[in-house]
């Protein structure tokens, strides 16, 4: 059953190959993700046929690494591989005229490998490692155009937000592992009592951070600074889904108290992020807010005790939102911006892309019989079955209406206006990638029921909610099309546009503390630095002193000697003429003197 490993090894090998060869990066990345797709589908087929797979890899002592293929992980793995393959196909066209292809495709391949590892991980250690790797990949890909102003900051902000939330995951996993004595996920989930309550809340924190739930939704809009394929793959379908995936996998752990928190959080996010989406003036930021909102729906489904509905919505959302992002990427290339003011009339200009965008948008809004209708319907039905239906159902319905409103608003803004034809490079690749995902957005609705059956348990459904959901969605669409956002939101609009950054935004709660800690450590570091400098200065002073004694003392002595010798030589030169005959005479005189002395001595003695 090596094909499970293929899903991870394919993109990993592609990454290594691109790094080594440094050319034909798009083709290699596409091959890598294609291998992953084959592996994932094969796994899914085999798992559907009843096979189970678990591999134990050597890891930390007593904590081996595990890969497992259960129906849940197989479905998630397939979702990631499918979206990854289509986005990679699209990225070939998108990146055609961009620099840094090698870097881009290396990081994308790395991300796919890390994400597959995350969903297939069978123990917390491996999951945590993959969690960190996708965070890293996200950071690098948001900052892909790091030369441009503000991009680096956006990447850092997104990284800080998710990192802060990740602390919850660390502590939660620590509690679970210390209680259960093993790192295997399925075993640790059986821990009960206070430990389960604390751990589940901490895990929820991590998931809320990764899935951009209120109040940590701000970073996702910043993340839109990255290339659009990155937004489509990481920040809608997979990386953001990691939070929901974590919750789905850890669902057995959650006691009812936590579930209520999960549901409330999801419901609030669905509404708050939805309002933000209605207010936004930028296509990609609108889609990012919508993503937060849709993950709110998934948490809502989890909160009312239906992980299957959450999974169904996750799957459908992956296809729909990725399609929307891919469409927006085409618009972005055509107009050089994603601001609505620059995108007016783009719909008439690119009818095919706009058609795909519209279909995906309607699917997201929940128009039957598209995919979003079925999944959202399942979520709404689940809320009605909950004991807290009075709380959750209105939230779900309101969120659905908001979805309709912002989808219709978007379509209207894109359609109305003048068209201005400009060619877009790489349209064939982009079209191929996008049409595949749009097709999935249309037909996936009919596959959700079998998928749910595979995972275990059917999707919740009743006639009332079907009618209600569809009606709310369509009325929301109508409202969004005919009523402008300003009059719809009124005074809330200004605040919503800024992302409801209460009290200076969540900078206050996340970035500031992080930066304060950074400052403190920097001051500490500076202190050490100063200490080192002081020691260095002292050493220099000693050296200077010794140099002075050297120059004034020893050197002075030597120079004095030299000067003395020279003076002596100058004086001695005056005594002699330099003439050979005079010297000879002197020599003779000297010889005479010596001889006389010798003779006298001989005679006397």
């Amino acid at each position: 059953m090596t094909y499970v490993a293929l899903t991870i090894l394919g993109p990993l090998a592609a990454m290594v190959a691109i790094l080594l060869i440094r050319r034909a990066a798009p083709a290699l990345a596409l091959i890598g993700v294609g291998v992953a797709l084959i592996g994932a589908i094969t796994t899914l087929v085999n798992v559907a046929g009843g096979a189970r797979y678990a591999a134990t890899l050597p890891g930390l002592p007593e904590f081996p690494l595990r890969l497992i293929a259960t129906p849940l992980t197989a479905v998630l793995s397939t979702v990631i591989a499918v979206v990854g393959a289509f986005v990679m196909l699209y990225a070939i066209g998108y990146m055609e005229e961009e620099g840094g292809k090698v870097r881009f495709f290396v990081q994308m391949s790395f991300f796919v490998a890390a994400m597959e590892t995350l969903v297939l991980a069978g123990d917390w250690v491996l999951l945590l490692a993959a969690w960190e790797m996708i965070g890293l990949a996200s950071y690098m890909l948001i900052g892909f155009w790091y030369e441009e102003e503000g991009i680096g900051e956006a990447a850092t902000r997104a990284f800080l937000y998710t990192r802060t939330a990740d602390l919850g995951l660390y502590v939660g996993i620590f509690i679970l592992v210390s209680q259960a004595g093993t790192t295997e996920i399925s075993d640790t989930l059986e821990v009960g009592g206070t430990a389960a309550f604390a751990a589940s809340l901490l895990i929820l924190l991590a998931a809320a951070g990764k899935s951009a739930q209120t109040p940590l939704q701000g970073w996702l809009q910043d993340a839109m600074a990255g290339p659009t394929p990155v937004s489509a793959l990481l920040h809608s379908a997979t990386l953001v889904a990691a939070g929901a995936i974590l919750l789905i996998r850890a669902f057995p752990l959650f006691p009812p108290g936590t579930l209520l928190v999960v549901g409330a959080l999801g419901g609030v996010t669905a509404v708050v992020a939805g309002v933000m989406a209605v207010a936004d003036r930028d296509l990609k930021r609108l889609l990012a807010a919508s993503t937060s909102s849709q993950y709110g729906f998934m948490l809502l489904a989890l909160g009312v005790g239906s992980p299957v509905a959450a999974l169904a919505h996750l799957t459908a959302h992956a296809a729909m939102k990725s399609s929307l992002f891919l469409g927006s990427g085409v618009f972005q290339h055509a107009r050089g911006s994603t601001d609505f003011s620059k995108l007016s009339g783009i719909g008439r200009e690119r009818p095919f892309v706009f058609a795909g965008f519209t279909v995906a948008g309607l699917a997201l809004a929940g128009v039957p019989p598209l995919a979003g209708f079925w999944s959202k319907d399942a979520v709404i039905a689940a809320t009605f079955e909950s004991p807290y239906a009075w709380l959750f159902s209105p939230l779900a319905l309101f969120g659905t209406a908001l979805t309709g409103i912002y989808v219709a608003r978007t379509l209207r803004l894109l359609w109305k206006g003048e068209k201005q034809d400009e060619p877009v490079a790489g349209m064939a690749w982009m079209g191929a990638g996008m049409s595949g995902l749009v097709a999935l957005a249309i037909i996936l609705g009919f596959a959700l029921e079998p998928l749910a059956g595979l995972v275990g348990g059917g999707l919740p459904r009743d006639l009332l909610t079907v009618v209600l959901g569809a009606a709310v969605a369509i009325s929301g669409l109508a409202l969004g099309w005919f009523v402008p956002a300003d009059s719809l939101l009124g005074p809330v609009r200004a605040s919503a546009e800024k992302g409801f950054r209460i009290g200076g935004g969540f900078e206050q709660f996340v970035a500031r503390p992080a930066l304060a800690v950074a400052r403190v450590t920097d001051a500490f570091d500076g202190g050490i630095h100063r200490g080192v400098l002081t020691v260095g200065h002292a050493g220099l002073a000693v050296a200077r002193a010794s140099r002075i004694t050297d120059e004034k003392g020893i050197d002075g002595l030597i120079f004095a000697l030299v000067r003395g010798t020279r003076n002596l030589g100058r004086r001695a030169r005056r005594l002699q003429t330099g003439l050979v005959h005079k010297e000879l005479l002197l020599a003779v005189t000297g010889g005479v003197l010596i001889l006389t002395f010798l003779a006298v001595r001989t005679l006397v003695l």
């Binding site: 002699q576 003439l579 050979v580 005959h581």
Partner: protein, 102 residues
Amino acid sequence: MATLIVALIVGAILFGVGLYGSLSQTNLVMIMMGVELILAGAMVNLVAFWRFLHPEAYSGQMFVLIVMTVMALEMAVGFGVGTARFRYKGSVEMEEARDLKG
């Protein structure tokens, strides 16, 4: 005995003439000639000493050979220096050679 005395006196006078020459001449070559005469006087003395005092020891003759070598070397080096000097100044007059004063 008389022969030895005669030879030694001849050597002494040659020495005196050579000394006068080497001290009084202004030309490098002439100075060298004076030195040659001094050495000739020395050689006469050496030969006389060998012949009349120790004819059994040939070191006396050996000494003369060495003196001849010195004469030849003095000639050679002197002319080498003279040539260099002539090239440089166009003359070998020692009155003009004050370079050694520095």
